[in-house]
């Protein structure tokens, strides 16, 4: 691992200022993804600003019946919260389907959103990867792309975003509160946090340099059942091949794009009275097969149809 300096501010504005003022600086939250990537020399920060002692680990009901989640709430505490389990069960289901108990005890709401792809070529410095080394090429296009994107990919990158939690947040229509380098705060939709790869897959989010996610805000839960389904190669502690979050008539897919994928065409089909199978296919009609990931198209269609039926019937997870 390359050398770096370290500080642990206790004030949010000071943390934001520290990262903005130091080239090569990064925020350090749970560290379960960042430190792993630093060991592999893929992440190379010169300065770490540890945000673990910032007062961002609280949760509170909002005046409109939603829930405001501090960005440093751990995945474990978020999944176990009684309000989340009863009102936003899709979020609990998504979180407990990701990582291991040990990882969820360190992983945070903010950090989970900002984790990097698990594309094998991103992890292999001996191979070209536009995300790791811009301009070097994409090895996955003609390589091992079984777990690559079927939506929104580009010639430069077909990697996927690996978060389960973010898929549930996208289906719930959650938003984020952030603090920017000048100390100002702003709000953006979770759906607007991640970018599609385009020509610049190394730029993954719409956050400015030094901008810190301070909270995730859930709107009041919409009517209807909530379901999270995830397909993977082993029963536990494995990244998804594909996942589906259903919240009433709101639908999002995971592990199929560079960002959590809101299935707007499925939602539109549902709104015009389509059945579950037809609605599922409405979104999948636009999916792309890169050679080895075509199975995801049928997989997501079936999972979506089943999850929609399950949500309507009010069957449990």
């Amino acid at each position: 691992m390359r050398p770096f300096t370290y500080e642990r501010p206790t004030d949010v504005a000071a943390a934001v200022k520290a990262v903005a003022a130091t080239p090569g600086a990064k925020f350090l939250a749970g560290g379960t993804n960042l430190l792993d990537l630093m060991k592999l020399d893929i992440e190379q920060p010169t300065h770490l600003v540890d945000v673990n002692r910032l007062p961002l680990a609280g949760m509170e009901d909002t005046s409109d019946g939603g829930l405001r989640i501090g960005s440093m709430v751990t995945n474990s505490h978020l999944a176990a919260d009684a309000r989340v389990r009863s009102r936003y069960s899709v979020l609990t289901q998504a979180i407990v389907s990701g990582g291991s108990g040990q990882l969820r005890n360190k992983a945070t709401a903010g950090g989970n959103l900002l984790q990097r792809t698990r594309c094998a070529y991103f992890y292999d410095p001996s191979k070209p990867c536009n995300k790791r080394l811009p301009g070097s090429g994409c090895s996955a296009l003609d390589g091992l792309n079984r777990n690559s994107a079927i939506f929104g990919a580009s010639e430069a990158c077909i990697a996927t975003h690996p978060s389960d939690m973010a898929v549930a947040l996208t289906a719930l229509g959650a938003s984020l509160e952030t603090m920017t380098a000048d100390g100002a705060t702003r709000t953006l939709a979770v759906a607007d946090l991640h970018r599609l790869p385009g020509d610049t897959p190394h730029i993954e989010t719409t956050l400015a340099a030094g901008e810190l996610i301070t909270a995730v805000v859930l709107p009041p839960a919409p009517a209807g059942g909530q379901v999270y389904r995830k397909a993977r190669d082993r029963a536990s502690y494995a990244g998804g091949l594909a996942s589906v979050a259903v919240v009433g008539s709101q639908v999002a897919f995971g592990a199929v794009a560079h960002k959590p994928w809101r299935a707007e065409k499925t939602e539109a089909a549902l709104a015009s009275g389509a059945g579950a199978v037809e609605a599922a296919h409405a979104e999948l009609a636009g999916a792309q097969d890169n050679g080895k990931n075509g199975f995801k198209i049928a997989l997501v269609a079936r999972m979506t149809a089943d999850a929609l039926a399950q949500a309507r019937e009010g069957r449990g997870a």
Binding site: R8, L28, D36, D50, Q102, L103
Partner: protein
């Protein structure tokens, strides 16, 4: 960087390179070799310790992040003269072969039982709003972050089931 961590009840002051993982601080600086380095990437669970009572992968945490924290390693869970019930149960159920993963399995199991006692849900929980029953399926799911290359899983589950029964 100066860092003070309470390890197994004793305050230990260290002057560390910022890159030192909590695992390396325990093993190489404090000579506590019970916690094992398996994969060093959070995939195997052999390095599991309790930090402020919560199980984490010590390989994926920097020691300097834990200034002021209380860390419990397998050495603090129990020793030859005062075996923890989980250690005793692992002996009685023959829950290991080579033993390399065992300290991590035991620390993880102790942390896991506390999580279950606080009614934290898992992927195996059928009812998210009710009380969690610690079935074998629940134990397996909650322990999936600890790999045993000798595949002593049936005995590990039996040992944890024994202790869970005593706690319940």
């Amino acid at each position: 960087m100066k860092t003070t961590i309470t390890v197994n009840g004793q305050a230990r002051s260290l002057d560390l390179d910022t890159r030192t993982s909590l695992l390396d601080a325990l093993r190489e600086h404090l000579n506590l070799k019970g916690s094992k380095k398996g994969c060093d990437h959070g995939q195997c669970g052999a390095c599991t310790v309790l930090v402020n009572g919560v199980r984490i992968n010590s390989c994926l945490s920097l020691a300097v992040m834990h200034d002021g924290d209380e860390v419990t390693t397998i050495e603090g869970i129990g020793g030859e003269e005062n075996l923890h019930p989980m250690q005793q149960a692992f002996l009685e159920q023959d829950a290991f072969q080579c033993g390399y993963c065992t300290p991590g399995q035991i620390c993880s199991a102790v942390g896991m039982l506390k999580e279950a006692a606080e009614n934290w849900p898992s992927q195996a929980s059928e009812d998210l709003t009710g009380a969690i029953a610690l079935t074998d399926a629940e134990i397996r799911e909650r322990m999936s972050g600890n790999i045993c290359r000798c595949s002593a899983y049936p005995q590990i589950i039996a040992a944890i089931r024994d202790v869970a029964g005593e706690v319940a």
